[in-house]
């Protein structure tokens, strides 16, 4: 293994090997946020949808019944192989896969009627760039939905969360706050049409299992959980087995026509 690793390399290594774990993960396969994304796409009836950082494809599959065609787009070819197989298994012939970076989308301006992205942006390194790329490839009048874990308003809670996230997964970059997301949207020229926040309970064992977190980092996470103030412990509802609850958000956006 090379000592020098690109961030993209970390993401590909981390997810390629665990692609199937994401297909079956309850957190990823279910959720009110997924229902919300499906609802947005069902109302918009877009001809062409882009799923940025599709992972195992859950958002693509939620959109597929209501869209002409969905491009499931991810850095990891291994992940895309899982998506293709799962799409075929579910009878979605309109889901196409393509590999690339969310920060440099290989699509012409105004190519898509809708852009969706779920649990991906915290790996991007530059969320503002990703959102501006989404805005670029959206047609005027198009809609977008970004769903991801968000940082709490409290600074100490924010710091704690990013710390355990990077211990768990070295390809983690940052969960931005809702305010930061709103700023990214404004900078990209997109209009925020709705924000819905959810509390996301995570089972500790499966949370670290998906990432194959090394024992030394698991121990560090548990130590951190035990060492923080009771305010932080309460905020994240940290339980004796390490399971806890995060905030996530679905931000719906529109590109003015």
């Amino acid at each position: 293994m090379s000592e020098e690793k690109s961030h993209q390399g970390l993401v590909v290594d981390q997810f390629g090997a665990q692609a199937h774990a994401y297909l079956t993960s309850e957190v990823h396969a279910r959720g009110e946020d997924l229902v919300q994304i499906a609802g947005l796409i069902a109302r918009a009836r877009p001809a062409r949808v882009l799923d940025m950082g599709c992972g195992a494809g859950h958002a693509s599959f939620a959109a597929a019944p209501h869209a002409g065609e969905v491009t499931a787009f991810d850095l990891s070819s291994e992940m895309l192989a899982v998506v293709s197989q799962a799409a075929a298994g579910r009878g979605f012939s309109n889901v196409k896969t393509e590999a690339g970076s969310a920060l440099d989308l290989p699509f012409a301006d105004k190519s898509f009627d809708a852009v969706i992205s779920r649990y991906s942006a915290h790996h991007w390194g530059d969320i503002a760039k990703g959102v501006s790329e989404a805005a670029r490839v959206l047609k005027p009048g198009g809609v977008a939905a970004f769903a991801d874990v968000i940082a709490p308003v409290s600074t100490v809670c924010d710091t704690f969360m990013q710390a355990i996230e990077i211990l768990r997964d070295t390809s983690h970059v940052r969960d931005d706050s809702r305010a930061q997301w709103e700023a990214h949207a404004r900078a990209a020229g997109l209009t925020v049409t709705g924000v819905t926040e959810y509390r996301l309970p995570l089972d500790f064992t499966s949370w670290i299992g998906r990432m194959r977190t090394p024992p030394v980092f698991v121990a560090a996470i548990r130590q951190l959980q035990d060492s923080v103030s009771s305010d932080v412990r309460r905020y994240f509802e940290i339980r004796p087995d390490g399971s806890f609850t995060l905030d996530m958000m679905v931000m719906e956006l529109a590109k003015e026509g």
Binding site: S84, S93, A99, G100, P106
Partner: protein, 77 residues
């Protein structure tokens, strides 16, 4: 748009030949670096960016639009 074929056993499967890249997808694809249009080389299964001097591979019908995975074009190519 289908890449499927039915073999003599009656089972549907991907074509034995190289799976075709989706034509409609090709229309909107650009080079991620230069955002310029690409040339599709169906024999080599590559998408060529003349401006970036890179050939992006298509593997199993999936365009791999990552500069790190692309082949640099030789002189005169």
């Amino acid at each position: 748009m289908t890449n499927e074929a039915t073999d003599h056993n009656g089972t549907t499967k991907s074509t034995a030949r190289v799976p075709e890249v989706d034509r409609k997808l090709l229309e909107i694809l650009v080079c991620p670096l230069t955002k310029t249009t690409l040339r599709y080389d169906s024999a080599a299964q590559e998408l060529i960016s003349d401006k970036a001097r890179l050939a992006y591979p298509i593997r199993d019908g999936i365009p791999i639009m990552l500069p790190d995975e692309a082949r640099e074009l030789a002189d005169g190519e």
